[in-house]
Each structure stands twice: as C-alpha cells, then as structure tokens.
Assembly symmetry: C2
Homo-oligomer: 258 residues x 2
Amino acid sequence: MAEKRPLILITNDDGITAPGIRALIKAITPLGEVVVVAPDAPQSGMGHAITVNDTLYCEQVTIDQGSKITEFSCSGTPADCIKIGVNEVLDRRPDLVVSGINHGSNASINVIYSGTMSAAVEAGTMGIPAIGFSLLDFGYNADFSHLLAPVQQITRQCLKSGLPKGVVLNVNFPKIDHAPLKGIRVCRQADAHWVEKFDKRTSPMGRSYYWLSGEFVNLDQGEDTDQWALDHGYISIVPVQYDLTAHHAIAQINQWPL
Amino acid sequence: MAEKRPLILITNDDGITAPGIRALIKAITPLGEVVVVAPDAPQSGMGHAITVNDTLYCEQVTIDQGSKITEFSCSGTPADCIKIGVNEVLDRRPDLVVSGINHGSNASINVIYSGTMSAAVEAGTMGIPAIGFSLLDFGYNADFSHLLAPVQQITRQCLKSGLPKGVVLNVNFPKIDHAPLKGIRVCRQADAHWVEKFDKRTSPMGRSYYWLSGEFVNLDQGEDTDQWALDHGYISIVPVQYDLTAHHAIAQINQWPL
C-alpha cells in the first residue's frame, strides 16, 4: 500500500502573488500534496489579526499558468487563511502548515508584529505543526533560489520529527550576497525593540498625518539569539510558543496585597 | 515640593467612544495625569497589527463635554496608538499604560488575537509598565460600575510596585449579575483554543462569502488558569511576556540532524 503523501497548507502575509510564496511553493511541492490559501493582498504588520466584524471571500485561483497546485485567494488576514483553509477548503487535516517566505525579518521582537508567524501560531493552536520562513530582504526582486534547499531540509525534518505541543518554528534567513550560508542555529528570540520616529506631513487638504518609521535597536549581546545568528550569516530557528504566561512572574505578582 | 503625579496613557481596541474606555478613564483619572490616545473606530481582533504601509491621523478630540482629559483619536491600531502616543503626543515618558476596558474576554488563547493586549505589550517592549483590562461581556450596555474599584486597586499597586522586565498584565473580569466578585487570582493562561465554524452565504451578486463563527473550547482542567478563575467568579491576572521563545524546546530541536 502506498504511503499517503503529507498534506501541506501554505500561506503568507505578503499576498498570494508575492515572489516569496511562489519560491516556498516550489520548495515544498516535492515534499507532499500542497494546497495554498493565501491573502489576496499584502498583510504585512498585521500581527495576529483576524476578521471578526466583516465577511471573508475565499476563491480558487490560478496564479501560474500550467501549475497543478490548488490555490485559494482569501480576502482575510494570514490567521484567517489558516482558519478557513483548515475548516472549509481542505477535506482532511493538514500534516503541516508553512508560511512565507516573508519579505523581511521576523526575527527578535518582529515576531509579535508578524502576519507570517501569526499563521504558523494559528496552526499551532489547532495542534498542527507549523513553520514560518522569512528572508531579511524586503526587495520584491530578492533572490530566494539558494533558500530552496534549506527550506526543504527543515521542512522534511519537521514532517519526520513533529514538534513539541504548543510550539511552532520561526525560521529566518540572513540576507547574503553570494556568500554561502554558514549553517543553522537553534536560538532564543533576541531582546530587541523598535525606537519609533514619526514623519509628520501635511496633506493637500491641510490635514496633518504621520508615517511610522522606526529604527531596530538590539541591546542583547547574547550569542544564543536569532539576531546574533543572522548577523553572522547563519539561518536562525526559534521555537515559538503561544502560551504567553510569564510563569516566572506569577510568584512575584502573588506577593501584591490585592 | 509636590510629588509629580504619574502620567498614564490610556487606549483600547473598541474605539475611543466605547463605554469600556469611558469607564476606564473615570477609574484612572484620580490616580494621575491622564492622556487618551485611542482608535477612532473599533479594532477588535486586530492582534498586534501595526500600520506600516499607510498613513496615520492622530487628532485631539473632545468626547465628553466639559471633560478636562486630553484625548486624541487615531486612525491606527491599538499598537499604533501606543507608538504615536509615546513618541509624538506625550511630552514625557508615561509611567504606565492602561488599555481597555475591553468588551469581551481576553483570557486564555484570546490574548493572541487581542488588540487591547497588543497595546499593553507594545508599551512593555518600550519598558513601560502596562495593564490590559477586559470584561467578559460583549454588550455595549455592559455594566462597568462595579469594576472601578478593582481597576483602581490593581493600577495603584502596579504604579507602586512596577512590573518585572518584559512583563505586562492581562486582567479579565468575570461577567457577573449582581453577585459580588470573589477576589483576585494570579493565573497562567488556560490551554484552550477556538474550533471554527464558517457560515457560508451568497451575496446578492451571487458570490460566496463566509462569516467566521467559532466556539471556544477549554480542555485545560487546571485550577491555576485564568479561565478557571473567571468561571468561578474571580478576577484573573495573567503576567504576559513577549519573549515568545519556547526555551524548553530549544534542546529538543537542537537534536535535529540539520
């Protein structure tokens, strides 16, 4: 009896036509049966947004002529795509969800703003193993070709080993120009943050408005962080959990005279 | 020399006119100098979304005639409100951020979808102590009057004690009908999830669309969870962190032959 090929659901947050997801589809297709449910428009910075007060469209589309991949374009967020993909589109439970390849970093504190990772986390809450992939290059002409092998390697291993309960993977690739990737590091999230600057302008109608324009500041000197790995040419893998409880702080808050 | 009153920035995710934030402003005003920067429209389910590809408006408004509170209405998300509030609106760093009172639960897994909590987390990443408050009642005519005292009690204590680095508080109030609150419990986030149902309909133009409509499923039997506390008439406080690293999983993933 032939072994059933794993069912792999693919999404992203840059929209279904973004080069990053097209590269991811190419990398993942040899590993199983692939179905794509991805946003119909860019959703960067959407965090774990879901559509609760509006309707959702989700319709089958053909992006690449001649492609045999089943693809759906969804009007919602990355997390919506996972919810509707698993519950409405697929006829069986997927064995894995992969999200990306994001155009831009989701390392360090960026994980909390990441639509790419929110899709992976959403799958995780359903008990489905999931990986978010990101490349530290915002360009739409970014080169993804050298990422196909490591994406396949990490995905194959995840299909084989599974993931601990409540854990999904946040994989980031350094931006490299013809230098070979140095390898893979399993890391913790660097303790960095954004220092915001707002660019204040005036509209033609005389109304003030702002552009958000921040600077990433990493004060974490640890060599076990994702940011260190990426700065030194390594692929970073951070196991991410959605139990946000600061367990170490419970005892301290319990001392409060409430 | 008079002691400087603490500066407290208030936001929410239901919009600046929602009864929940009006109740929160009433509770917090006696405790310090209050400035409100809140979304101009409901932002429920927005998670940690930020506005990266669009402009932001942020303009001073008067919601309650005769009010002496300085208030700004912002076109962005709750996280945007914190970024622009701290960096553009306020002339000094706030001593505390409070968000809410949300109309609906942010306990258990709801924390990852919560705009209310994303505002608190955003403040946390800046090193500012922060609390998100939520009431388990979606109604716009929900009764917040009995919450003023516990909101003040928890906020006063937080101003006095501060919070551990990297930690903010997720406070949920049970929906009670004239029963007294039983007290306050410091808890961990219950391991619950949503089982989604999609209500598929057809538009007048003949196009299929969906409404997301899930059911909350709590399989966590622990009596140390927020869901248990709320189900038994207690106020729950969960210390929440934005280091999402599943530290316990690093060793296991490191065993992978990558």
